[in-house]
Symmetry: D2
Subunit: 456 residues, 4 copies
């Protein structure tokens, strides 16, 4: 089966050239002109052709705050419609339990339920000796990223000893450690004091986790990684303050990688203060910041200090959010963002002049593929790589909102936002799964991808 995508502008992390793409079965075989006959031709005239998005940060079907985030069945379709063809989701170790058992549990959730290819991280909550012994096997199975959280005290938070050992052991076995950086002790103390003072509304969520809480933990994580001689990936950077620590470490030559998310460059803490509990729609952690941080983050994305932009997708309905009506601490944290990721970053980044087209592709596909051990199979357009492709209309203009989204969530954090640029067609390993903006694939088409140990 030969598929030819013709007349598009092929965009990679490095290049922007008009070219055809020839796909045989699941794989790209050539990029160029006059690539010969094909069984099927897709006209991409006037369109960009991007590599399929790689979203290294999703939480599909995650049990949290007494409820469960929206499942693979809906959320992976939303991701596909947003131009993402591979997600890496967070499996979780039960405290005291086995890493592999956590992975198994997540594999069951995803099996047969995913519209897109997928892999898993394992969130480490307890690095007991048995868990340490599991790491080589975990890596062998293609789970090459360990996640540690410095926040969520009493739940998944780990202490510095666990974090330090995870960095040492992960590095020893080729696993990259990803860190959620916030000082959980301070967050918990502030939360308790706010609630004790009757400050229970959503806007106090931001008050309980100010930028300094993130910046401190970011510096701490970096220093621990330097002491461990290990690379690290700091997830969902939200503030200029944290970015300063990241940039300083990169200047010292240490391999510090970092992610931001579309919400942190488009939404603000003011959204948390929306009346009638509407602020709950914007409760996620770290918290949204003032607009002053947006430009710093855009600048970090543009210069590459922030390599990647994942979604941190964790979708809830308004009914689920209402669990915290009387206490912001009980609002399930998270928003739907996997579908919105590419359009928002294109519209606010590329179309608004803050990001080059190539850095955009790098941030949403190539860089995460490299960091995740998926490259070159995923993340670029080149001969021999998976034919995961997005045909994108840069001229389309539309209004983002619940009416346009496909998540199981019943609200959109970007309701009413004008967007420039739209995903039209998506191919997953050579199969068209999105056509004219409609999902035409089938659940289970997405495969588990065993990832390769971190090389860089």
């Amino acid at each position: 089966m030969r598929t030819l995508i013709t007349d598009g502008i092929v965009v990679t992390a490095a290049d922007t050239v008009p070219a055809d793409i020839l796909v045989e079965d699941e794989v790209i075989v050539a990029v160029g002109r006059n690539l010969g006959p094909a069984d099927r031709t897709i006209d991409a005239a006037g369109r960009y052709v991007f590599p399929g998005g790689v979203d290294e940060h999703t939480h599909f079907g995650l049990p949290v705050s007494g409820t469960v985030s929206q499942p693979w069945e809906t959320e992976s379709v939303a991701a596909a419609l947003g131009g993402t063809t591979t997600v890496v989701d967070f499996a979780m170790q039960q405290r005291g339990g086995s890493l592999l058992a956590g992975i198994r549990a997540w594999q069951e959730k995803a099996a047969g339920a995913s519209a897109v290819d997928y892999g898993f991280h394992i969130t480490v909550t307890d690095l007991h000796p048995e868990a340490i012994r599991e790491i080589p096997r975990v890596v062998e199975e293609g789970v090459v990223t360990l996640k540690c959280l410095m926040a969520y005290k009493g739940s998944v938070m780990v202490d510095d000893d666990t974090l330090f050992r995870a960095l040492q052991e992960g590095h020893r076995h080729g696993a990259l450690v990803m860190i959620h950086c916030e000082n959980g002790d301070v967050v918990a103390a502030l939360q308790g004091q706010l609630v004790a003072a009757g400050k229970t509304e959503p806007r106090y969520h931001a008050a309980s986790r100010p930028p300094a809480v993130e910046a401190e933990a970011t510096n701490r994580a970096i220093v621990l990684a330097e002491l461990a001689g290990a690379p690290l990936l700091i997830v969902h950077v939200t503030s200029a303050d944290a970015l300063d620590h990241i940039r300083a470490a990169q200047g010292r030559g240490h391999p510090v990688y970092a992610e931001t998310c579309p919400q942190y460059v488009t939404l603000t803490a003011d959204d948390l203060a929306r009346p009638d509990f509407a602020g709950a729609r914007y409760v996620l952690s770290p918290a949204l910041r003032s607009a002053a941080h947006h430009e710093a983050l855009w600048s970090g994305l543009s210069s590459g200090s922030l390599q990647t932009a994942g979604s941190d997708h964790c979708a809830f309905t308004l009914e689920q959010k209402a669990l915290g009506r009387d206490d912001f601490r009980r609002i399930p944290n998270g928003i739907p963002a996997a579908e919105e990721r590419l359009p928002l970053l294109y519209s606010e980044g590329v179309a608004s002049g803050r990001l080059s087209l190539n850095r955009f592709v790098d941030a949403v596909a190539t860089a995460p593929a490299r960091l995740m051990g998926l490259y070159p199979r995923k993340g670029t357009i080149a001969p021999g790589t998976d034919a995961d492709l997005v045909i994108f209309n840069p001229e389309a203009e539309w209004i983002m909102g619940v009416a346009t989204q496909h998540s199981g969530s019943d609200y959109s954090p970007w309701e009413g936002k004008p967007v420039r640029g739209a995903v039209e067609t998506v191919l997953l390993r050579g199969e068209v799964i999105v056509e004219d903006g409609r999902y035409v694939g089938q659940l289970g088409q997405g495969q588990y991808i065993a990832r390769r140990p971190f090389a860089g």
Copy 2:
């Protein structure tokens, strides 16, 4: 009883002027010329007259590592002979116990046993609700400084929650929080890994607590203080890296105070590698650094980024040090430094051109008196203040060593070091307690000084 000190050069934190000093009973009544008849005259011609040293950092009779550091009876005399007339020693809360009980225990140790005036800090190991409720009373009794340690895991280390609440509660009640900044989790992990690898000698003490461990905790302590809206005093700063964080915070306008110690500007990590277990004599925490850090610390002392220079005096005999012959973790941490503090800082600082005479006096007397709530009663030479005075010969040259010291320790970390400048005469509240370099006072002459809440 009128005592006249004549013809000296009177030095304060601000001024250097030739003048006489008239003392009536315990108090200075005038500084100038022609101050009239006196019952006793002390000739200070060719000498500096300094305010009595204030050492905010001593550990006399401290139970640690299965032994007890040298007691008040010897160590307070050593302090007096070194030109220090007031010490503030660290009382300790038993984990789960009462703050006041800790203070009582320390008051008993010192009662009748001290050659110099004294006060207490209380080291907080557990901020349970009852302990929080004790704070106002603690402050009322003149214990206006709380100490928290971020290191010594499994012993006195506190977590960030305790630290943050101590900063909040201390500030609420006028107590300044002093912090030992090292990441105790990482130190413990490195210690365990070193010992597991057979690296048990004293020099691995430094390997287990590198500068980054101190710098990280320093930044963390500062951020927590900023979030708490509280001032803080970082004790025993040893590295350029930690100083950078301190200077940055001071530049942001936050009231961050810091101390270094004579050992950190004169001894190096190389001393820990001395053969035949002689490195054990240099085991103290944080660890000694490379010489490159010395100039940074001198510069910090000179510019006032480091306000004060305490001794962190904690003296042990060689027999006590031998407890850790097979495992550096069991070597009791500490050295005798209270007696050496003024001569070393004068010789290496003032005589070597790194410190002005006024900043020297500020660092060893005025600044600590202010930070400790002892000023103006202690720490300066001015009418109305306690007649704690040091007559110092700037031209004396001598060799420091065990033969010249008066601590109960039986070795000197500075054995053989040539020193310029010597303490000749010391007055404590108008009484001569050191004459011609000999102790002529009596134990018990030193009084407990209830200190005033931190104002600055």
Copy 3:
């Protein structure tokens, strides 16, 4: 003649103590209690007694922009009424001319005309070989400070070669170099472009010299001083940006000193936009900044990164200011500030909690006296020093304005500003020259003070 000042609170850079001061003829002989009989007693009960202010930055009778700033006869009286007893004024070398000739010319202006003691800096405009040869003689005559300006292109601006050699030669001969830091080339280019665009009003003065212009030159001056191995004093620092460079250099251990002025912590660029040409009253260089810079400067003053606060007094009438009605470049730069300096810094600094009382005294008297080679004769209260004293009522409340000022200028930049604290009595070398806020001295009482080479 023995004068006794009784019952005041004596304040120095280090100490705050209740004490009497005994003066014999021109000199303080004792500070204390029961200082014996006196010919004259001045009651200072309820008052602070400060050392007489030292203002290292005045321009009395300076020819500029085709006019001459207000003269010694009025301005030195204003300084005295503001609690300043010594000024150091800027003599100017004619381009191509002799340094000594410049000093002579300024000595003539001041002779017999000054209410306060005085010295001179020499502004270097041309460092020709003959001028270099004059430096030792200049220093010998007590002119121990060279001034270079990096701005005012086509007038007094010098190039980097002159600046570098001035730093080298000054240091060789004991003269401290003071630098006005703004990139004069850029200022001139921006001025030309603004005027060419019809932007001639006073508010464009600030647009033509943004903070970056000052910060760049500040960094350049510091680097040149470091390369020359010379200390330097950066005058009239106005911005957080410049302060960052200063603080960084101090952190590197280089002797960088810096001054700010009361106007830069109280007035803003908005004042330049006042209607009806009233903005001209606020034209001075560097330009006033946004309020955001004020707190940074206060913090710098408080921590001592900015050692001193001179007035940069250069007073003009409204008629003189009108010379630039059609072109902001022709507005004579400067304001009256010598009289306002102490009250403003006390009121906005000490009374508002931004500055300790001792740092205030240090900044307005002790630190400038040290930097100027006037210490210990000037700048402190201690036996043997000149009896230059200010009796200050900290409780007085008044409204600053043209009605309260004594400069020859006919407007006040602080018209209507409520002030807390007032100068009541001023002694110059033992003579009362201000009594109850009225000038009771006589012109010519002020003497030339030959200053000592820079030691620090």
Copy 4:
């Protein structure tokens, strides 16, 4: 004419994939597998295929110090043999003269004499009104980069006014300004003082231009660019100090681009002290630094703070270098480096683990092509781009030295250096010009490339 390069590993700034490349005439038409029949096949098995190097910094036939650097006829061949297929050389405006006349003069030098494609920068020495008016025409002719030098006082150095206006006017018309950053006044002063002190040997070259001289000018250039709202490209960055300023500006979001050169990451100031005037071989400006700076620069290259690595090729014979035997100021500045650029950066960068393969290609080809307005025609491997290709053997091991080089210079600064990786075959627009490491092209094959205005 269809040429097929088979079985190589195609490397771009983003991707590393095994693929064939099909070339039709001068242009790449496809990258992939099974690209059909060709007239000629080049076997690249076991080889990397890189885009042809773009060297944005050459000085061929430059009159300097009373002599002329080696000419196009030899040096462009050396560049070709080193894997560079496009150079951008510096034409020079005569002081007071026309920009276009300078370009014309350089076009004549290169016409018919170049082995590789080429463009020109214009070095601005005098921005008189007529020169400003020429800028649009200069840009139209494809000279889209203006060069300004802050050093070489009395020769090509410009003042800040010229620099600032060049930034403003360049930006207005689409020309990127490139800046040589050293404080020329200080360099000249230090040079004069050294020579006056009899310090005339080559090693004093470095003493006359220490890193601080570069760092200061770098900061100044950046601030001027920020004030002008213009991007800038800082050429030949040599020191960690300069890099700190660059990184800080990039962090602020300003478009600051920077270049380093192979010599600054491989040679040190010690080379200047080689005996018997051999140090003269290493005289170039800015001067070589201590080894401590190398790692900082590698880290900057790796992270992309330094985007590009040009050669600053300016070759002289030993006889030419001897012009400065009695005075280091008269030694013509420069070394041959165009041929060595790719092999050195591959060997010391990629093979030594300091640089990823993709960043290497980016630094030597893609990034300079983008900055120079040559992309996508030059600088990458993609359909539609010029078939400038380098077939590189990563396993070859050889010794660099005068015996292996092809410059007109008669010495090699890297004599005896072991190198890993070798250029074997080079295509220029589809023609093989280097085969088995021998030049097989003909002079004049290289064409002038009119470049496009700077877009980034």
